[in-house]
C-alpha cells in the first residue's frame, strides 16, 4: 500500500496554469470565513499537512475522490462498524468521511490541559455532592440544580468509590469558534459514547489510505486503552482483577460499540442476568460456576443498575449491586456521576472552578444562564432573541415539548408566551446559552471538498497513577446544517477521524507512552453461561440450516433425476414429509409440487424451519455474541440468501450448492475464529448435537417399512456418504449397511456415533464443578448413549430403537443446558405490592 504520496514541499504540483487539482485538491477550497475554518485558519506547517493528506487521497484514487468514499465505506462495512439511532430496528452502517480533521500536537496539548482541569473540577463537584454537600450548604450550587437531575442518585450519598475516583473515563464535546478559540459544549461522564468509533475510524482510515496517516505525522492512539484498563485495575482489591463491561444488552443504541470495546480490551461483555451478588461480592455466572468480578465498566444508566436500590422495575440490573460497590467493587464511572451532565451545571462551573480549584477555567464552556436565579431569568428575558433556550435537565418542559434546545429567535409570539408561562411557574427547568458558531472543516462531499460545520469529541481516562491522559485523537462530527449537540450522530451527520499531528515528521518522534506488555492470556477472560448458551445455539441453528439445505437439495435432485418414476416419487414424498416434520414446510403442503415445497423450505420466513428463518435465528444469536466472533465470521453470517428461480431445478440446485458451501465455510470460520477452549467446545457441541438429531429424524422418516434404494441413497446423500458407501460395499444401498454407516460407525464424521464421540470429548475438556471425582450428568448421559449405540446391531434397528436414541439425545441436550446455562436462575420476577387501600 505504500505509495510515496507525501508531497515534497510548497509549490508541489503547481505549474504555469495554477495548482493542479489532482495534486492539491484543496487549492480551490473556499470556506465562507477563512479564519473560521480549521484548515484555512491553520498555521502554515499544519495546513501543509492538510494539503498533503488531501492530495494523497486524490492520488490514491486517480483524482476521483468520490470513489474514495466508496472505497472507505467498504472498509467500514468490513470492520462491522454499526450503530443505531434510538428507535431503529436495524443497525446502520457508520458514516465515515475520508478527510480527517487535523490538529497540531501543540494546540491539542493546550486543549488537553484545559480538559484535565475540567475533569478534576467535575470529580471534585461529584465528590462533594455525594459527600459533605458543602457546595450546596455554602451556596455555591443551588440544591435544585442537583435534585433536578434524573441522574442524581440519592441512595449513593455518603458512599465512596474504592480507590476514591468517581470518574475514570471522561468524554467531552468541543467546538471551535470563529477565531479559532475552543469551547466545551457538553460533558459526558455517564457514557463515553463514541470512544469505540474513534478507535475504529482510525482503523478504517488507516486500512484504506495506506501510509498516509503516518506520512503527515499522525500520533498513534496506542496506550490510551491500556491506561484506562490499568487505571481501573489499580483500584481493585485483588492484584490480578477480573473486569467486565456491563451492558444493557443488544437493543441498546451503542451495543455494537460496547461489544467492540469489550473485545478490544479483552474483557467479558456481561448483562445483568450474567451477574449475581452474593454476600456483598459480585460474581459472573460462568460455565465454571460463579467467578468473582472486581470491576465493571458501566454502560448502563444508574437508575437501571440495581432493582433493589434504584428502580424496582429494572429487568436489566443486578439486585444489590450497590451493596457490592460499597464493599470494594470498582464501577467506572461510579453510578450517579451523571448529575454534572445537566444543562444547568455549566452555568456554575466557571464560579466553581474559582472556589474549588482557586483558578479560572482554562477552557471556557459556552456561557450559560440558569433561570432558577431571578437575575439570570431577567437577563434571559431581555436577551431572548440572542440566546439558545434549553431544558435545564433535558426533560420535556412547557414551551420545549421535546426537551430539545431552540434558538430564542426561532420562537413565534405564541410559542414564546407559552415558554414564558412555563418559566414563570417553573423557572428552574430552563437554561439559556450563548449561540456558539461553529468553525468549518473541509469534508468530502460528492467528490469535492466542501466546508462543513463540525464539533469534536475528545476522550480522557485515568491511568494507574490516577492521572488523566488524553486520547491522541477522537472523532469529529461533521454536519451540513443541523444541531450537533445530540448524543452521538444525528440523521445525516457524518464522522471524521481526528488526527493529532507532529508537523515535523522528519524530526524526532515524540516519546510514545511506555507500555507494559499485557499479561499473556489464552482465553477471553471468562465464559459467561449466557455466552456459552448462545454459542451452543448458534452451532445448533447453523447446523440445522445446513442440514435442511441438504435435504432440500436431495429432494430437488431426486425430482430432477427420477422425474415421474415411482421409486423417485417415494423418496420425494418422504423427503417432503421430513421437511414438514422439521417445520420447513406447512402441513397443508402434501399436495404441492415438490419444487414449490422446496422453494418454501428455502425462503419462506413464515416457516420456522425454513433455511432463511433458521439463518435469521442464527444471525440474531450472533448479534449477542458480537464481542466473541471474528469479523470474517460476522460477515459470513450476515450474508443474504443466494437468488434462484423457483421452479427451475437447475437454478434451485445451484442455490442449494452455494448454501451448503456457505454453511460449511461458516462453521469452519466460526470454529477457527475461536480458540480451542470452552467457547469453541460449546459451538461444536451445538453442531454435533444438531447433526445427530437431524440424522435420527432423517433415518426415522426415510427408512420405516421397506426402504427403496432411492430412499436409502437419499439418506446417504444427507450425510454426504454416497462415495464412502460405494467404496465400502460396491453395491446398491441396503438397509443394514446404510444404518451401520449412518448411525453406528464412529469413524464416519457425518454419522450419528461420531457426534457422540465428539460431544464426550468436548464435555471432558470443560471445567468441573463437582469435587467428588464423579462425572457430571451430561458426561454420564453421553456415555450411556454411546454404550447403547455400541451395543446395537444394524440389522435390528427399527423405529423404536431410533426413537429411543432421539429421546436420550434430547435428555443430553437438556442436561447440558441445565448444567452450563442459566436455566434455574433465569427469570427474575418482582414482588408486586397491593397493600394499599
Amino acid at each position: 500500500m505504500e505509495q510515496g504520496l507525501s508531497p515534497d514541499g510548497p509549490g508541489h504540483g503547481s505549474d504555469l496554469f495554477g495548482p493542479d487539482p489532482g495534486s492539491d485538491p484543496l487549492a480551490y477550497y473556499t470556506p465562507p470565513d477563512s479564519e473560521a475554518d480549521i484548515f484555512t485558519g491553520a498555521a502554515p506547517e499544519i495546513a501543509r499537512q492538510w494539503r498533503s493528506f488531501a492530495s494523497g487521497l486524490a492520488g490514491q484514487c486517480n483524482c476521483d475522490l468520490a470513489s474514495m468514499q466508496t472505497y472507505l465505506d467498504r472498509h467500514v462495512e468490513d470492520l462491522g462498524l454499526a450503530f443505531r439511532h434510538t428507535g431503529d430496528e436495524q443497525e446502520r452502517a457508520w458514516p465515515l468521511n475520508p478527510m480527517p480533521v487535523i490538529i497540531g500536537s501543540a494546540e491539542w496539548q493546550n486543549i488537553g490541559q484545559g480538559l484535565v482541569q475540567r475533569a478534576e473540577l467535575l470529580e471534585a463537584v461529584i465528590a462533594d455532592l455525594y459527600g459533605p454537600q458543602r457546595l450546596v450548604s455554602e451556596g455555591h450550587l443551588p440544591a435544585a440544580v442537583v435534585s433536578g437531575s434524573a441522574h442524581f442518585g440519592r441512595r449513593l450519598v455518603g458512599m465512596k468509590p474504592p480507590g476514591g475516583h468517581f470518574l475514570h473515563v471522561y468524554a467531552v464535546d468541543l467546538a471551535r469558534g470563529p477565531k479559532g478559540e475552543w469551547r466545551v459544549l457538553a460533558d459526558r461522564v455517564r457514557l463515553p459514547t463514541g470512544i469505540g468509533y474513534a478507535l475504529e475510524n482510525r482503523l478504517a482510515l488507516g486500512r484504506s489510505t495506506g501510509g498516509l496517516l503516518a506520512s503527515i505525522g499522525t500520533r498513534r492512539q496506542a496506550g490510551f486503552f491500556e491506561a484506562l484498563r490499568q487505571g481501573i485495575a489499580v483500584n481493585c482489591e485483588r492484584a490480578d482483577p477480573r473486569m467486565a463491561l456491563f451492558t444493557p444488552g443488544r437493543f441498546n443504541q451503542s451495543y455494537p460499540e460496547q461489544a467492540l470495546l469489550a473485545r478490544h480490551l479483552g474483557i467479558a461483555l456481561v448483562e445483568g442476568r450474567d451477574l449475581t451478588v452474593r454476600e456483598g461480592k459480585l460474581f459472573a455466572r460462568t460455565i465454571a460456576g460463579l467467578k468473582r468480578i472486581d470491576a465493571l465498566w458501566r454502560w448502563m444508566g444508574t437508575r437501571d443498575i440495581d432493582p433493589l436500590n434504584f428502580d424496582s422495575r429494572s429487568q436489566i440490573g443486578v439486585p444489590n449491586l450497590i451493596d457490592a460497590a460499597g464493599k470494594g467493587l470498582v464501577i467506572a464511572n461510579w453510578p450517579g456521576v451523571g448529575v454534572v451532565e445537566s444543562r444547568a451545571m455549566p452555568a456554575f462551573l466557571p464560579r466553581l472552578a474559582r472556589s474549588i480549584l482557586g483558578e479560572p477555567l482554562q477552557l471556557p464552556n459556552a456561557a450559560t444562564w440558569w433561570c432558577g436565579g431571578a437575575k439570570e431569568r431577567a437577563f434571559v428575558r431581555d436577551n431572548f432573541e440572542n440566546l439558545v433556550i434549553s431544558s435545564a435537565f433535558r426533560q420535556p418542559v412547557t414551551g420545549l415539548a421535546d426537551g430539545h434546545s431552540r434558538p430564542g429567535s426561532s420562537f413565534s409570539n405564541e410559542e414564546r408566551a407559552e415558554l414564558e408561562r412555563g418559566m414563570s411557574m417553573r423557572p428552574m427547568d430552563y437554561t439559556a446559552q450563548e449561540v456558539v458558531s461553529l468553525s468549518t472543516t473541509p469534508a468530502l462531499a460528492d467528490g469535492r471538498f466542501e466546508p462543513r460545520g463540525f464539533t469534536l469529541r475528545a476522550f480522557l481516562a485515568r491511568n494507574e497513577n490516577g492521572e488523566w491522559v488524553l486520547l491522541q485523537g477522537g472523532f469529529a462530527r461533521v454536519s451540513e446544517t443541523g444541531d450537533l449537540r445530540t448524543s452521538l450522530m444525528g440523521y445525516g451527520d457524518i464522522s471524521s477521524d481526528l488526527c493529532i499531528i507532529d508537523p515535523e515528521v522528519s524530526g524526532p518522534q515524540p516519546a510514545q507512552p511506555r507500555l507494559e506488555p499485557p499479561q499473556v492470556r489464552r482465553e477471553q477472560g471468562l465464559l459467561p453461561s449466557q455466552a456459552a448458551d448462545n454459542l451452543y445455539w448458534l452451532g445448533r441453528y447453523g447446523e440445522r440450516a445446513h442440514q435442511t439445505v441438504r435435504i432440500i437439495r436431495t429432494l430437488v435432485e431426486q425430482v430432477a433425476v427420477a422425474g415421474e418414476g415411482t421409486g423417485g416419487i417415494t423418496a420425494v414424498t418422504r423427503l417432503a414429509n421430513l421437511l414438514r416434520s422439521l417445520g420447513a414446510a406447512p402441513k397443508e403442503s402434501t399436495k404441492w409440487q415438490p419444487t414449490r415445497l422446496a422453494a418454501t423450505a428455502l425462503s419462506d420466513t413464515n416457516q420456522p424451519g425454513s433455511v432463511r428463518a433458521l439463518g435469521e435465528q442464527a444471525s440474531a444469536i450472533a448479534l449477542r455474541l458480537r464481542d466473541r466472533l471474528t469479523r470474517d465470521s460476522w460477515r459470513a453470517i450476515q450474508r443474504t440468501m443466494p437468488r434462484y428461480t423457483p421452479g427451475d431445478l437447475e437454478s434451485m440446485t445451484g442455490a442449494c450448492d452455494r448454501l451448503v458451501e456457505r454453511f460449511a465455510a461458516l462453521s469452519k470460520l466460526l470454529s477457527e475464529g475461536l480458540s480451542r477452549g470452552p467457547s469453541w467446545s460449546f459451538l461444536e457441541m451445538g453442531i454435533c448435537l444438531e447433526r445427530g438429531s437431524m440424522i435420527l429424524q432423517s433415518a426415522r422418516i426415510m427408512v420405516p417399512g421397506s426402504a427403496s434404494a432411492e430412499d436409502l441413497s437419499a439418506l446417504l446423500d444427507l450425510v454426504d456418504g454416497q462415495s464412502l458407501y460405494r467404496s465400502r460395499y460396491v453395491s446398491m444401498p441396503y438397509i443394514a449397511p446404510v444404518f451401520d454407516m449412518v448411525l453406528l460407525d464412529p469413524a464416519q464424521p457425518r454419522g450419528f456415533a461420531y457426534q457422540l464421540v465428539q460431544i464426550e470429548e468436548h464435555l471432558n475438556g470443560l471445567p468441573v464443578l463437582r469435587d467428588d471425582g464423579l462425572p457430571e450428568t451430561p458426561v454420564r448421559l453421553v456415555r450411556q448413549l454411546r454404550a447403547r449405540v455400541e451395543g446395537l446391531d444394524a440389522a435390528d434397528i427399527d423405529s423404536e430403537a431410533i426413537d429411543m436414541l432421539g429421546q436420550q439425545l434430547s435428555r443430553l441436550s437438556d442436561a447440558i443446558s441445565r448444567r452450563y446455562f442459566l436455566q434455574e436462575d433465569a427469570p427474575l420476577s418482582k414482588g408486586k405490592a397491593t397493600l394499599l387501600g
Binding site: A144, V146, D311, L828
Partner: protein
C-alpha cells in the same frame, strides 16, 4: 392522641421461590408531631439477613434476604405513636413566594424541598393535570388555602373506587378516568402542585381505624393510606393534605414515610427467582389507646 398500630401481612407463593430479597418500608421515620414508642418489626420465617437503613428519602428501609426457598412469609409491624396536633396553617404565603423560597434553600436533605420539586418516575409531568389544576393555583394566592381548594376539587371530581386501579396504573390514566384510590389521588395532586413550582411529596402511613365519636369512618382505614405533603414555605414547612378524605393530615394520620412518589416509600418491593402467582393478605389495626 396515642394510637397503637398493628400491621400484619402474609405473602404466599403458589410455588416456592428462591433468592428472595425484599425492601420493606414499614418502620415509621421521624416526623414532626409524632413520637414513636414500642416499635417492633418481626418476620416469620426469620430472614437470613436483615439490614435497616434510613433514606434516601424520608423513609426507613428494612432489607431482608431469604437464602433458601420460600413458599410463604409473614411480617408483623407494631408500634405506639403519640400525635400532637399541629396548628392550623391559615392562608399561608403566596405560591410564587413559596416557589422562590424553595429554590433558595441550601439543603438537599430528605426533609428539604429540593428533592420534591421535580417530576419523578411515577409522578411525572402531565399537561392535562397541569391545565386542570391551574385554575385552583393562581401564583398570588396563599399556598395552604390553594392546596385545600385543589384537594377539595380532587375529592369532588374523582370517584373513590377500590380495585379500579393497581400499583401499575399511571396517574394520567387515573386522572382521565377520574377514579382510583388514595395512591392515585395523591399522585394527581403532587403532579398538579409540582407543575406550579410547589414542592410536593407522597406520604404513606395509616389512618385511625374507628372514627372519633359522631364522625364517619375514614376512607382507606383498613390498609395503608397515602396523602400529600406540601411544602408551604420555610416557616410552615411540610403540611399534609389528604385528597381521599378532603382533610388535613393532623390527628388521624400516622406517617410512615415521605418520598417523591409511591416507589420511594412502597411498603414492599423486591426480587426473587421463580414466577409464581402470589397472594397477599393484610390486616391493619389502628386503635386509640
Amino acid at each position: 392522641m396515642i394510637y397503637s398500630v398493628r400491621h400484619a401481612t402474609r405473602v404466599t407463593y403458589s410455588a416456592p421461590v428462591v433468592r428472595a430479597q425484599f425492601n420493606l418500608r414499614l418502620v415509621p421515620s421521624i416526623w414532626k408531631g409524632q413520637t414513636i414508642r414500642k416499635q417492633h418489626l418481626g418476620f416469620k420465617p426469620v430472614p437470613d439477613l436483615r439490614e435497616d437503613y434510613y433514606g434516601p428519602y424520608c423513609v426507613n428501609r428494612t432489607h431482608i434476604t431469604f437464602g433458601g426457598s420460600l413458599s410463604q412469609f409473614e411480617f408483623l409491624s407494631e408500634f405506639e405513636v403519640e400525635i400532637e396536633a399541629l396548628a392550623d396553617p391559615g392562608e399561608g404565603p403566596a405560591i410564587a413566594e413559596v416557589g422562590a423560597e424553595a429554590l433558595e434553600q441550601r439543603d438537599l436533605s430528605p426533609l428539604s424541598p429540593a428533592p420534591y420539586l421535580f417530576a419523578s418516575r411515577i409522578a411525572g409531568t402531565d399537561e392535562e393535570i397541569d391545565r386542570w389544576a391551574s385554575d385552583h393555583l393562581p401564583l398570588d394566592a396563599g399556598i395552604a388555602r390553594s392546596a385545600s381548594v385543589l384537594m377539595g376539587a380532587i375529592h369532588r371530581d374523582f370517584t373513590y373506587k377500590p380495585g379500579s386501579t393497581d400499583s401499575a396504573t399511571s396517574p394520567s390514566e387515573a386522572f382521565s378516568r377520574r377514579e382510583g384510590v388514595c395512591q392515585d389521588f395523591a399522585h394527581v395532586m403532587i403532579i398538579a402542585l409540582r407543575s406550579h413550582g410547589i414542592p410536593a411529596a407522597y406520604a404513606s402511613g395509616y389512618l385511625r381505624t374507628l372514627p372519633p365519636p359522631g364522625k364517619p369512618k375514614l376512607v382507606g382505614a383498613d390498609a395503608m393510606h397515602a396523602w400529600v405533603n406540601v411544602w408551604c414555605g420555610k416557616e410552615l414547612g411540610w403540611i399534609g393534605f389528604d385528597p381521599t378524605n378532603n382533610c388535613l393530615a393532623r390527628l388521624d394520620h400516622i406517617q410512615i414515610g415521605m418520598g417523591r412518589d409511591y416507589a420511594d416509600v412502597a411498603p414492599i418491593d423486591g426480587t426473587f427467582i421463580g414466577s409464581a402467582p402470589q397472594d397477599m393478605k393484610t390486616a391493619v389495626d389502628v386503635i386509640e389507646v
